[in-house]
Structures are given as C-alpha cells and as structure tokens.
Symmetry: C2
Subunit: 184 residues, 2 copies
C-alpha cells in the first residue's frame, strides 16, 4: 500500500521567521512589538512604517532564513510522521531568492532525518498535490485537493472555515493516532 502524502509548510509552521524578526527588532530598538499585532495580514505590518523597508531588506538578505528557531515539538513529530507517511516540506520561497539555499541547509540541519528529495521550493503551491496539507496561509490551502489544515499563527486567528492545528501536539494527535489512516 502506498503511503499517504503529507505536505508541510515551512515558515510559521516548522520555522519561526516572524518570531526571529520580532526578537531582533525589539532587541535593536528596545521595543515591545507583539505577535498579536499581526492579525489579518502580512506580519511586516506589525513594525512601524518607517522601518518596514529595513525589515524587508533583512528578509531578502542571505542568511536570515539560515538560522531561524524551530517551532516547538515539530522535530519530534515530523520524525514520526516521516516514518508513516510520504512527507514533503513545501515552501513558497521564490520571492526571496537568497532564502532558497538557506532553507535547504536549515532543513537538513534541524531535521536530519529528511533529505533534499523532500523539499519543494516554489512561488505558488497550486501544482503541488498530496493527501494532506498543513499551512498557515489560506492562499496556499485553497487550491489543494486533499485534506487541508490551517496551522494557527498570529496572522490567521480571524480565519474561519478551516480545520485548525494549533500546535505540533495537535498535529501528532491527528497524524500519529493509530487510527489515522483508517479514519480519514
């Protein structure tokens, strides 16, 4: 029997660029920018307007995506998912040309049980199909033909109409429960 294919997003799902940027900004400016401000759009809006160009420049710089924090419990849960499913990490990264190699190296360092064969970097996720998709953006989920899960992030708290996974413990409950493949 073929394994079911699970597509997992990178930023805000297994990697934390928003947290990394906020931490860096608050340190540099002795500021107190909060995740909660991200609701309802691009999280770049949470920074003062006069600093947004600098934030974007930092996002576009080589190295930014190379040293991001890993989302809590994602390593342990994906290690198990990788045994039971055909797992791909899919990132809409093409808008950030310097992130491409950084994302590959970050993934192989932090998730050493994955290989380069399991990473897909794209502009638009429409053609990437499978049985399950976990993503924090509706724009990535909406054209997916399999079962969609919205991974909760500060910017999507107001979205309705999607089944949510709020953290990696909940991902484990859904995907690593022994009845998963028969129940779905």
């Amino acid at each position: 029997m073929n394994k079911q294919r699970v597509l997992v997003d990178m930023d805000e799902v297994i990697a934390d660029p928003m947290g990394a940027m906020i931490g860096w900004y608050n340190g540099k400016y002795n500021a107190a920018i909060d995740f909660e401000l991200a609701l309802g759009g691009s999280w770049i809006r949470i920074f003062p307007e006069e600093h947004r160009e600098m934030i974007l420049e930092r996002l576009l710089s080589p190295g930014f995506f190379r040293h991001l924090p890993v989302m809590k419990n994602s390593v342990d849960v994906l290690r198990e998912i990788n045994k039971r499913y055909e797992l791909y990490i899919v990132s809409a990264a093409m808008e950030f040309p310097n992130s491409l190699k950084d994302k590959l190296e970050w993934l192989l360092e932090n998730f050493p049980f994955l290989t380069w064969r399991q990473l897909i970097l794209c502009g638009d996720k429409g053609p990437v199909q499978g049985d399950f998709m976990i993503d924090d953006h509706v724009k990535n989920l909406q054209h997916f033909n399999g079962k969609k899960y919205l991974f909760t992030s500060a910017h999507n708290l107001d979205i309705t109409g999607y089944d949510r996974l709020n953290n990696w413990e909940e991902v484990a409950d859904v995907f690593l429960n022994d009845n998963t493949t028969t129940v779905k």
Copy 2:
C-alpha cells in the same frame, strides 16, 4: 474555463548544462567529447573517469547554472504557451544547492515573460501535478498523472514507450496548434 497546466523541465529541455559542460571541457583539454556518448545514463559518464570529480565540482559551484545556453526556439514557443496555458517550470535541482538562486535568475533573465511564481525547484517531482509534463527523464515522468512527453536528449535516445518531443518546433506543433485543447 480554467487553463490547462503545463509543466516544463529546465535542464536539457530549456537550458543546456550538458552542452555548456562539454564545450567548456573540450576547450580546456583540447578534447572532442561528444554528446552521443551520453546514451543510457548520467551524462557525467561521457567524461574520462579521472575528470568526473572535477565535473561534479563544477556542477555544484555557484554560477554554473546562471549562464547556460538557452535551448533553440524554447523562448519563442514558451512565450506563446504562457499565453494559452498555466505554465510552470519545474526543476529537480535540490541536489545542487548553489544552483537554486542561479536557476531563478537565469529563468527570469532569459524568459522575461515568466515570473518567480512560475518556478518550482524540488528534489523529487512526484507531488507536482498538472495536465501535461515535458521532461527528458523517465524518473520524472513516471509518477505524473497527466499526459507525459519525453523531450529528446542524447541520454534518452534508447528509451521507448513514451511520446516524444524532439525539439521546440515539435512542442509548438503539439501545444500551439489551434485544435490542441479540444483534441487532447
């Protein structure tokens, strides 16, 4: 009506890394390595064994994929295909981390009517689906659910069992004939 989705491979289909490498090698060593030797496997085999490590190093270097020749007529034909279909360029490039940004920049320079949204860089093309796929490798075509076309290259001349496109004039005949979408 939604446009049909066409997936087009990069190396040996719109870009010519094999030709570029052979040209460079023949110049450097005053050699006469020929495309015809590539039949039946990786084209790296066409170089003398003692030089294969150097060839692989060159493939892995930043810049090699940035300045490749464009396959004859591919620009003109893809410009038209891009108007009539949902077009993606899909390259199994992840084995070559330094090629990722190079491939994006090469594509946008040589095919300026395409955008970063239309490039997909992956390790394995299995999850990337559409209506048509043009590729020079059976390993990429075999898991595709749509109509498959083997693009002829020196290394695949012995493959049977696939509809072939031998050059970009033939791609135009198949995809830009006015009856295409009704005939398929």
